[in-house]
């Protein structure tokens, strides 16, 4: 009785707060209907989710896959509301960094047995498998990968007197390359990133810290809500490096306020030396007629030989309370199967089946090979607080990326970011 009253309150609360979410869940409330499978995805995943849904419908006549696309920034709120109101979709494709949040809330079904029973269970991309695992139970399945790498302009490398076939392998080489390209002339810039978009900045820059053993959170703890470590000496040293690059003209001034709208800087028109981005960006670049020769290389650590990457992309989950649990699993199984994954590779999306990499993806070119190398060496930040720590445009990561990199006191900015981050972690403490 007590429980149902809280549920009622929660319902009213969420109703007032997120009326839109209700109308959405109402749209997909054809629940229990085995002829229709409801799938939610974020706007970044619209293309491939719809592509696979269509294929799945063709393979299963009589079945309709009803795909709902949510704006990236609304996923957590809308999915959370739908699950707590007992009306979730059958399958959801979410940004892999959000998996720990929902796992912590008990929002996803345990898929351990089903995933382990797959023929290719051991071939699923480890970084994404880990992101969906808690206490040895797997709650999400890898779906598509989006790994961060460094794109660079070989022509500008040549102009700046750098070897275009020897892209940076250390922080220092990275800084030197950016600074010397930035010094080429007025409208030529060295390196650009989106400091106002915490998720983008983490995707582009965090791997360079990870590669050298540093981190923004205490990932080694394995906890769902690890402590914040924004003042980790490796992090501070890296911010100081970036801060120096700003002073030396290696980083564009537009980086400071870029909220992710302009993540590629002037790279596409040949005026930017280097930019870190993901698999999706390769599609954009390869579909346009670039006025220069492009190179792709892993994100370097402090010392030569250290590389890392953030493995983004989407994982699939079946929410608790899904009406068609079995049909949902059939879809998940199919989406990780050969047909679906090969189709993804063909359309230029990085698959999550490591056994298909050589035959279907990295063989497409050195760029894809670099993305695969990154996927295998990369990791996913594992914390329930990802949104508040990293994505939030008013959160500690953005603050560090703006005030730390562009300000005049790295230590003060780091300390301030750490203080905010600690408060977030404390608030999200699991009981």
């Amino acid at each position: 009785m007590r429980h149902s009253r809280t549920t009622l309150f929660r319902l009213i609360a969420l109703g007032t707060a997120t009326a839109a979410a209700f109308s959405l869940s109402a749209c997909s409330s054809g629940g229990g209907d085995a002829d229709t499978l409801t799938v939610w995805t974020r706007s970044d995943g619209e293309v491939y989710t719809k592509q696979l849904a269509e294929m799945y419908e063709k393979a299963n006549p009589g079945l309709t896959v009803d795909v709902t696309v949510l704006p990236n920034s609304d996923v957590q709120q809308k999915l959370g509301s739908a699950i707590s109101s007992g009306n979730p979709p059958d399958v959801v494709a979410i940004d892999v960094v959000k998996a720990p949040y929902f796992i912590n809330a008990g929002a996803f079904q345990d898929l351990t047995e089903r995933l382990d029973g797959l023929d290719y269970a051991d071939d699923l991309l480890p970084a994404q498998v880990d992101a969906g695992t808690f206490e040895d139970k797997k709650y999400t399945s890898p779906f598509t990968a989006d790994t961060s790498v460094l794109y660079y302009n070989k022509d500008l490398f040549r102009q700046a007197g750098l070897d275009p076939e020897a892209p940076p392998t250390t922080w220092q080489e990275f800084a030197t390359a950016a600074d010397s390209i930035g010094g080429l002339g007025d409208d030529i810039t060295g390196y650009h990133y989106s400091a106002g978009c915490g998720g983008c900045a983490a995707f582009a820059l965090a791997p360079m810290v990870w590669a050298s053993g540093g981190d923004f959170i205490d990932a080694d703890s394995g906890a769902l809500n690890p402590d914040a470590t924004f003042t980790d000496p490796v992090v501070t040293e890296f911010i100081e490096l970036l801060n120096g690059m700003v002073a030396d003209g290696g980083i564009t001034t537009a980086s400071q306020t870029d909220g992710g709208e302009n993540y590629g800087g002037a790279f596409e028109n040949g005026k930017l030396g280097m930019v870190a981005s993901g698999s999706f960006y390769l599609n954009t670049l390869q579909s346009s007629d670039l006025p220069f020769e492009m190179g792709v290389t892993p994100l370097p650590g402090k010392n030569a030989g250290e590389i890392s990457s953030m493995v983004g992309g989407d994982v699939l989950a079946i929410p608790e309370g899904a009406k068609n649990g079995d049909a949902a699993w059939d879809f998940v199984k199919w989406a990780t199967g050969d047909d679906a994954q090969k189709s993804l590779a063909e359309s230029g999306f990085t698959p999550v089946r490591t056994d298909l990499y050589e035959s279907d993806y990295s063989s497409k070119g050195p760029e894809q090979a670099a993305l695969v190398e990154a996927a295998l060496q990369g990791q996913v930040p594992y914390t329930v607080s990802f949104n508040a720590l990293f994505s939030d445009p008013n959160g500690p990561m953005v603050s560090l990326m703006q005030a730390g990199v562009f300000g005049d006191d790295v230590d003060a900015a780091s300390a301030a970011a750490q203080k905010t981050a600690e408060q977030i972690v404390t608030q999200n403490a699991t009981e």
Partner: protein, 331 residues
Amino acid sequence: MTETLSTPVTPSPDTSRRASSRVRSTSRGRRPGGAAGPSLRERRLSRTGLLAVTPALLLTAVFFVVPVALMAWMSLHRWPLLGRSTFIGLDNYVRAFTADDTFLRSIGFTLIYTVVITPILFVAGLALAFFVRRPSRASTFFRTIFFTPYVIGFAAASFLWLWFTDPSAGSVNAILTSLGTEVDQTSWFVEQWPALINVIVMVTWKVVGFQMILLLGGLNSVPEDVLEAAQIDGAGWWRRLTGIILPLMKPTIILVLVFSISGSLLAFEQFFLITKGRPDNETVTAVYWIYNVSFTKFELGYGAALSVIMLVLLLIVAAAQIRLLRGPKND
């Protein structure tokens, strides 16, 4: 409504009784119908009146009273988006005033914004109202021009502005550069004041037309003959403005200022969309922070507590404002 109005003229069975009661009460020197209790007619009127306001009462209850009560209840809890909520008493309120620097800073910033923009909007609105005061074809044209931005939503206007002031593609920087001004390509959002000025210019452009229309109504209610008499007595325009026009426009001014100040204290979209709090949360308003806490961090209980605090602040400001503007006489 129509029925109520027509009742007295429609002959009805109780007409004679009412008439006699009127005679009796008049003889006792009471006002008509003023017997010991309310008359049948009065009772019927009040019942009809109650019926008439019921929809409004219901709407207020459903859309105001219930949410506010729920919000107050939530504010006493740690209330995550998913998972169980826990009762924590007044902890959220304590946290707001002791541990949340950004919230306190956001209230300060909201007050600064309000203090800066209110006089700008009022003076500009009044000036425009004077400008378009006399009815003519030209003034209709200008009234329309000035009012048009008001019908654009804040979100759309903010995006428009964001685009105008974009460092690489926007027209504002291009114009400033062509006029020979050195503009740092990102100067709008790397410092607090340029970011604030950017928003103030947008809001003024968007809202001033509405203030103009409201003030125009007040301005037109000032009797011409009084102004003429003052002019004959030798009062200059400033004397006429401060001594006659503004005092006579007091009710309109109160309305405009209450609208404008509470609107500014609730500022959100323009900052959320244009500055995003840049630089380093220096342009985060109170409502922006409430949004961030509730829908980015999903601390719904804490967000509710901040909303309650905000509601109390608004009530205090609105009450103080009305009291101050009315002046001591009317109290």
